[in-house]
């Protein structure tokens, strides 16, 4: 046993705990109710079939020395800063560290095939199968996602694209499925007869972009509807009469950009009564009120900092806040101070590095020089892949079940870590009253040297995922060209 793992950290105990905890979770959760939905073909405790470590008993004993552990996983680092004061927070953290360490150190490889750097391979086939299965008919308890179903279209299609799967067979079914979700007054709801909602519209439009089916969207009506969500204070509501928060601003601006809609507010927009004329008016101020004393961005002004989009902000403070979100020793990201690592923040925080690099006054040579990409890759490959020969999907952390949400944002996290995205500051940011900035991104894959540093082989690489839109780069470019002339 490795000296850095205490006796009570025996992975057998960890696994037993895991099996005991295996639970049907409440279908909604802190990620806006979209997370932790039980997948159609999820693993259950008895699938482990009595073997403490599925597949491990079939593997020949490893005789070669294991690759050395990175500094943040070495005993000396793990032993720093012992706290005597035990609180709810420290207990929760200790439990997570305990469940992750055996995976991070390679003591428990979950029966995965290892790559040439001693980390598990990305289980492409299993993850693809898991994502495909999400499109199968869902049993009645899935009623909990009846108002957020469009997210599944997006998570699955974007996840499959990151894995290089052909999504074309889903094009026609997608077009048919979303048709009853679009309201004549603009926007998409979660289902037939539901009110248009920013999140549902955002997810649907991204899915349609991936499938090359944006002709389905009534762009003029979308523009009018977005005009009803813009508020006199500069922010956006999620739906008419619903809450105003940063997700509204983020979703609305994404849709305006991708559909190349005019930044001019429609004549009937309520925000015009406050003297606003453009969708971007007072938006910067509104977002800057969301920056907290800690440097992060809150969901709405004065709310607690939460992973989000940098702009109009105290950039060094934001950078410090982002850097502090990478967790020791897991290497993934947390969403807030003193909260637990969670794979989905691999995107929500991990996706910010390229963006903030573009905003820094003294940028490093590239965004990779600001954070620990190798630590994120290690966390995702060792802790977040669902074990079991035929099981796939990715998960928040070892004690949770995989779902489409965490699968996409884990794969996006791998893309952020493996590739380097650069912003072309010389390209135009607006043109003919439209927003163009988000189209100015270019990507490159890792060099051999970078792959060695990251601990990945060729077959562990995912396709480029756009840092702003979180869909394939090629799909973004196609949408840009499709609406280039801007007519409504």
């Amino acid at each position: 046993m490795s000296p850095l793992v205490r006796k009570d950290d025996d992975p057998r105990n960890t696994l037993e705990e895991l099996l005991q905890q295996s639970r049907i979770e409440e279908l909604t959760s802190e990620h806006d109710g979209y997370e932790d939905v039980e997948p159609a073909h999820s693993s259950t405790a008895h699938d482990f079939n009595g073997h403490p470590f599925p597949g491990n008993h079939l593997q020949p004993a490893r005789t070669q020395a294991k690759p050395p552990l990175p500094p943040w996983l070495q005993a000396a680092t793990l032993g720093l800063f012992h706290e005597d004061l035990t609180t709810t927070t420290t207990q929760a953290q200790a439990k997570v560290t305990k469940e992750c360490l055996p995976h991070l150190t390679g003591q428990d490889t979950s029966g995965f095939e290892l790559n040439s750097h001693g980390l598990p391979h990305l289980r492409r086939t299993q993850h693809a199968a898991f994502l495909h299965a999400q499109f199968e008919p869902l049993p009645a308890p899935y009623v909990a996602i009846d108002a957020s179903r469009p997210w599944f279209f997006y998570w699955v299609l974007s996840g499959l694209s990151a894995l290089g799967e052909d999504i074309n067979p889903y094009r026609e079914p997608l077009i048919a499925t979303v048709r009853p979700l679009q309201n004549p007054t603009g926007g998409f709801g979660g289902g037939h007869g539901q009110l248009s909602h920013c999140a549902c519209s955002y997810a649907t439009i991204l899915a349609l972009t991936i499938a090359d089916a944006l002709h389905v969207v009534d762009r003029r009506a979308t523009w009018h509807w977005l005009g009803t969500l813009k508020q006199p204070d500069g922010g956006f509501r999620m739906a008419i009469g619903a809450e105003e928060d940063i997700r509204g601003a983020y979703c609305a601006m994404t849709m305006l950009t991708l559909l190349n809609l005019p930044l001019e507010l429609p004549p009937d927009s309520l925000a015009r009564t406050a003297g606003l004329t453009r969708f971007t008016d007072k938006l910067g101020e509104w977002i800057s009120h969301c920056q907290t004393y800690e440097g992060g961005i809150a969901g709405a002004p004065t709310n607690e900092a939460h992973g989000a989009i940098p702009r109009y902000l105290d950039v060094p403070a934001l950078l410090a806040w982002l850097a502090a979100r990478q967790t020791q020793p897991e290497g993934g990201f947390q969403g807030r101070q003193e909260k637990l690592v969670d794979a989905c923040y691999s995107h929500w925080v991990g996706g910010c590095w390229a963006l903030i690099t573009a905003a820094l006054q003294q940028p490093p040579r590239n965004s990779a020089a600001l954070w620990n990409r190798a630590a994120l890759v290690r966390y995702l490959l060792t802790c977040c892949q669902q074990p079991g020969k035929k099981k796939g999907g990715m998960r928040d952390k070892p004690s949770t079940r995989p779902d489409a949400y965490h699968t996409l944002y884990s794969l996006a996290g791998l893309s952020h870590a493996q590739n380097v995205f650069t912003y072309n500051a010389r390209a135009p940011t607006t043109g003919e009253g439209r927003s163009l900035a988000a189209f100015n991104w270019a990507a490159r894959g890792p060099s051999k040297e970078e792959m060695r540093e990251l601990g990945v082989d060729e077959e562990d690489l995912v396709n480029f995922v756009h840092p702003v839109f979180v869909i394939p780069m090629a799909a973004v470019e196609r949408a840009r060209q499709e609406f280039e002339d801007g007519t409504l």
């Binding site: 409440e26 909604t28 959760s29 806006d32 109710g33 500094p71 680092t77 800063f81 706290e83 004061l85 609180t87 709810t88 927070t89 420290t90 199968e136 049993p139 009645a140 009623v143 909990a144 996602i145 009846d146 108002a147 179903r149 599944f152 279209f153 889903y170 079914p173 048919a176 499925t177 979303v178 009853p180 709801g189 289902g191 037939h192 007869g193 539901q194 009110l195 739906a239 008419i240 009469g241 907290t292 004393y293 800690e294 969901g299 004065t302 709310n303 607690e304 900092a305 403070a317 990478q326 967790t327 020791q328 101070q337 003193e338 909260k339 490093p364 990779a368 020089a369 600001l370 620990n372």
Partner: protein, 315 residues
Amino acid sequence: MGRYSDDPAWADIIPLPTDEGGPNPLAAIAYDDEYAEAMSYLRAVMAANEFSPRILDLTEDLIDMNPAHYTVWLYRAQCLFALKSDLHAELAWLNATALEHQKNYQIWHHRMLVVDVLDSCEGEREFVSRMFELDAKNYHVWSYRQWLVRRFGLWEQGELEFTRDLIEKDVRNNSAWNHRWYVVNGREEREEGEAGGVVGDAAVREREMEFAMQAIEKAPQNQSSWGYLRGIVRKAGLPLQGCKAFVQRFASLEQPDEVRSSYALDFMAEILAEEKGSEQQAALALDMLAQKYDPVRRNYWEYRKGLLGVDAVAA
């Protein structure tokens, strides 16, 4: 055969069945009959823009089956206000529903709408405190509490003591720290020109710095308390030097093996970077972070070192 189709009170409604868009919809949900029926009545009454007491029954029924149904919540709110319904009864029902579905967030927006119209926050903080006993970091509940403070001007009515008690219970509860910041500074940040909070009121500033420092003494490796202290210094535009003596007790370059907090060492690096002629020492502090005390963030510390404009330091 169904709850609504058998009920004479609904006999005038022709239900609108769901349109799934085609024979092979993606991720189609096999709704059970009760839900499918209630939804078909909802579509029909929404299409007719009906506001009547029976809508309250229908929406309650649907929320019971699917509390994340934003359409149903928004429609219910419109209906409540159009009918001038008993909002106290609504709150009583909401209490039970919130306890049953703790992670649901539509509930909190709805509650806000109701309490706003009621124009009274009686009992609200007590209920919110009950929610915190179940989860002291529930984001939506904290947002709601901030709204209560702002809407009803509760700045000086026990909120500070409330955060003190929660921080006493768990010194790493960042949500409680964030709320404390809001209670102390929120009024000034929203109404420009008000001189108070940690920026405008020296007594408040001293009290809050003292509070953060005491929390740091209790648990030095805590992002929340250091972040709070750092936030005060940043907002008030104080010279960082003022904190040096305190920070040194947790991270001194003279005793490089005795660092008690990586956050203190980070702060020390900032203090030294601001001091004239101490850039080399600042670089040393950043090296200590990169190599020993916080190696997971090595790249970030090295980026910060690059900003100092000094040549590589021998570690």
